[in-house]
């Protein structure tokens, strides 16, 4: 729901890094955006095309890697992926869980010329 500000951050992180390594062009940006982050990839792509137009990242492709939600049961330590709305542990049926994956939201790497 806040893809514009997310996309602005992605672009500025990529440009800053490209500048650091004195690249002339950014060809690809590899993103790790977890399932729980609620970010819609198509929206990010749409905004990216608009705001990167006059930068060295224009026409860079965006790659989205989406780690699935993974939970750990605080009672029996089982690690599992939730099934729809059921966040109870499939092993001991307790609903005491911690989120161990799915919240990621970072720029993993950029590919430059």
């Amino acid at each position: 729901m806040h893809e514009l500000s997310i996309t602005q951050n992605i672009l500025s992180i990529a440009l800053e890094k490209a500048n650091e390594v004195q690249a002339s062009k950014v060809t690809k940006i590899n993103l790790i955006i977890g399932e729980l982050s609620g970010i819609v990839n198509e929206c990010v792509e749409f905004y990216f095309d608009l705001i990167s137009k006059d930068t060295i990242a224009a026409q860079a492709s965006l790659s989205f890697h989406q780690p699935p939600i993974q939970l750990r049961c605080r009672s029996c330590a089982a690690v599992f992926s939730p099934n729809n709305l059921d966040w109870a542990c499939p092993n001991c049926h307790e609903a005491k869980i911690e989120i161990i994956s799915g919240r990621e939201c970072y720029v993993d790497s950029i590919e430059v010329d």
Partner: protein, 224 residues
């Protein structure tokens, strides 16, 4: 050529949030980020808090809304310092908006700063503002299944207020199931049952706030 970056997309926001918190700490101001869906009772909670605590603490308010000054006007009538932020369509507050708002508040004259976030159970949880504590409200008509639908919000809250508890006889809201779901996600969350309309249960909220203000002040006096 591939260049490793490994930078959090929200790191710029987090940096500003830390700066805000340092500024608030310097003035010994306890800051609470209040989050909920639209209509759950954030403004009512703030008005109740002002009316009950204004003799005991100097209160400031930052009102975040997509548009309008309706809420800020209500708070202003209570005679406390208030800044309205209109996000112009934005679904949440960000740290830089709070930074600007802090420039317009008399920080030397505030003990407790209440930030009313934009009504939304998703995005506000992602953006730190510089607050010390996060309070979220869930009102009974919203249903007891919300922790599973919006887990991040419930994972991040220090206090969860179940508001509109006066409607319990009319609704099918399973309080024990809700408690179990929240504590499952967030074992240290404090859960309070309140009605901002009748005042029921709000004493627990007020005494939690007063206690937190006291702790903030004693931290502040040790550092200065």
């Amino acid at each position: 050529m591939e260049v490793k970056v490994l930078q959090d997309i929200l790191s710029a926001n987090d940096g500003i949030a830390r700066r805000n918190q340092n500024l608030l700490d310097k003035h010994g101001i306890l800051t609470i980020n209040i989050m909920s869906s639209p209509g759950a009772g954030k403004t009512s909670l703030i008005l109740q808090t002002i009316s009950r605590l204004k003799q005991k603490a100097r209160i400031g308010v930052i009102e975040g809304d997509v548009a309008s000054t309706v809420d800020a006007d209500k708070v202003h009538k209570q005679g406390v310092a208030v800044v309205q932020i209109n996000t112009a369509g934005g679904c949440h507050l960000e740290a830089n908006m709070i930074e600007n708002a802090l420039n317009n508040l008399p920080l030397g004259d505030i003990d407790l700063l209440l930030i009313e976030n934009v009504g939304n159970l998703i995005c506000p949880a992602e953006f730190a503002l510089g607050e010390h504590k996060r309070a979220m409200l869930l009102s009974l008509p919203e249903g007891d299944d919300k922790p599973y639908k919006y887990p991040l919000m419930f994972t991040e809250a220090d206090v969860v207020l179940i508001n509109k508890i006066d409607l319990l006889p009319y609704l099918e809201f399973n309080i024990p199931a809700f408690h179990k779901a929240v504590i499952g996600l967030n074992p240290t969350a404090k859960i309070l049952q309140v009605s901002c309309k009748t005042g029921e249960g709000l004493e627990d909220w007020f005494s939690w706030l007063l206690d937190e203000i006291k702790q903030t002040k004693s931290r502040y006096s040790q550092e200065n």
